[in-house]
Point group: C2
Chain length 331, copies 2
């Protein structure tokens, strides 16, 4: 991990990742067999967890959900910085775990195609793996995400999620802590809960609702058809989600993703978790401030490119009015 | 412009931009004539400036470089926020100018293909237009950028740059002001000058040099083959660049872009200006802190996708070691 001396942001330098196979690069040529399909278990590192049919052995077919270490990890359990600390430039070892959750044995069944019960089971495994990684020594934060489709950065088609534990708090979380902390100090309440209330009140950006969650296009969405899935119950971390809430999430996620798939003709998208720091990092972040955080999921369909304006300013240009996006997506 | 109530970042909502024509979307079908080619001057708004052969009339062929307002602007000279201020959500009118500089009459000659003299002339026009927009009433910042190729967000192939003036300081500039200001307070020097010195000393990330500029892959580059072009002379804004420096920039930019084109097989890229606030905004930003800023250009070849990890954490994963990138690019 290298720290930018200008803006202080960390970058994970991971040359191993350039050796990743790529389903999408082979144009018309042979597509090599999928390493995530049953029968190819030997092509991934040994599994760390699986939901299996009784009696089937590890790293063999018979699994329903399979968790393996990423073969081309962005962080690693051991290692040290390539160059010593000191001097002007700062680096540190990228210590952590990088896991892949393979959603199902089916090569091309995405969340919108699976029965709610299956989505629920996969989400529960996501929750457990996030919880497990959060307990890792030195873990400050756990990032869960799903890249679907080439334009969203996926290199393999077979539906999967990735979970990465980090030794320090990410930039986005620091910004959330600052904003949520300031709001908490001023009002005694949670900024995310308030945003949810205001979106409910406005109504025009709501995409879907159920007992546990609210799905809306944020007032200042950066991307066309960006959707935030906010749990109604105030809870800092995804791992604190109850079984009932996981079921409610499976319901609303399925409905919203089916709407995205149909409206935007099966687009690539990123599904991104935002949450509070891991328990061990709470001291660093401040207990009070961490307690004012509120986890949520973000769906970013890829319909535009990040371009020069965005890289120069940090501002985004959104060519679709959030209210219009919500109206078209509403389910 | 809408302000995100969570992280306070502004988003430009510009539904008009979804009506842009797109050279890259027409798959095998008819490609409509290029609105930036000579003979199609009527398809752009009337020109605000042009370098012309003597005696040729405005908005007609005979130009060498042509500047027009963007037909689908992200900001506009007049207008007001769609919804009144007040309440929880904050918005304001996106007041500003959005210009396009058409580099030459040639539909497919990019900087690497043009003689240094032509690149120099185009860069001088960029400088003049940036200076002109900086003088606009209420302008806090002027952003210059060039999107080359579909993957970099371009919708038209014909080489051009865009210049946008903004009524407030962008997020990226605030971060630069904070970091440069802290460094200035601590050392009395410029952080960017220091980064240049440290990169010179290290040597291994240098791509090219000349009297006026240093081109290097930053120590914590976010993207493979990202290149920073740093002027050796301390100067906050691009518009303060001398004629000699523009010539030196044309030289190094041509060399570096030819190397990028050859190594990465004519990739899409973003060319992005980073600089200090417009003169009128200096008071807001603080004169002392603004004076400690230092303009530079950034070249971002598009070889990877921004994916879920980046959107979740704000950190980037770079699969190419910056030293290896610099070695391959060195000219």
């Amino acid at each position: 991990m290298r720290r930018d001396p200008l803006i202080g942001r960390w970058v994970l330098v991971a040359p191993e990742r350039s050796r990743r196979p790529n389903d999408f690069r082979s144009s018309g040529g042979l597509i090599s067999p999928c390493p995530f399909c049953p029968g190819h278990e030997a092509e991934t590192p040994p599994e760390v967890f699986a939901v299996r049919e009784p009696g089937t052995p590890r790293d063999a077919p018979g699994w329903k959900i399979r968790v393996v270490p990423n073969k081309y990890p962005a962080v690693a359990p051991h290692g040290r910085a390539r160059r010593p600390a000191g001097g002007f430039f700062e680096s540190r070892a990228g210590l952590g775990a990088h896991e892949v959750v393979i959603d199902s044995p089916a090569h091309d069944l995405e969340f919108p195609d699976l029965p709610p019960e299956s989505v629920r089971n996969v989400l529960e495994i996501y929750r457990q793996r996030v919880e497990s990684l959060e307990a890792g020594t030195g873990t400050a934060y756990v990032q869960l995400f799903k890249n679907k489709g080439r334009e969203a950065g996926a290199t393999l088609r077979h539906p999967h999620a990735q979970i990465v534990s980090l030794p320090l708090l990410p930039q986005c979380l620091r910004e959330d802590i600052d904003a949520s902390g300031r709001f908490f100090k001023k009002t005694g309440g949670c900024l995310h809960c308030r945003i949810g209330e205001e979106e409910e009140k406005a109504g025009e950006r709501i995409v879907a609702r159920n007992d546990g969650f609210l799905a809306f296009v944020p007032f200042a969405a950066r991307f066309p058809y960006e959707i935030r899935l906010l749990p109604r119950r105030h809870e800092a971390r995804f791992s604190g989600t109850s079984g009932e809430e996981i079921a409610a999430l499976a319901d609303i996620l399925g409905r919203v993703l089916r709407s995205v798939k149909s409206l935007l003709e099966d687009p690539s998208y990123n599904l991104v978790l935002h949450q509070g720091p891991a328990p061990a990092a709470r001291t660093e972040a401040g207990n009070a401030r961490a307690a004012s955080l509120h986890w949520y999921l973000e769906i970013i369909p890829v319909t535009t490119r990040v371009a020069g304006f965005e890289w120069g300013t940090g501002f985004h240009i959104n060519p679709v009015l959030p209210e219009a996006a919500a109206r078209r997506l509403r389910v």
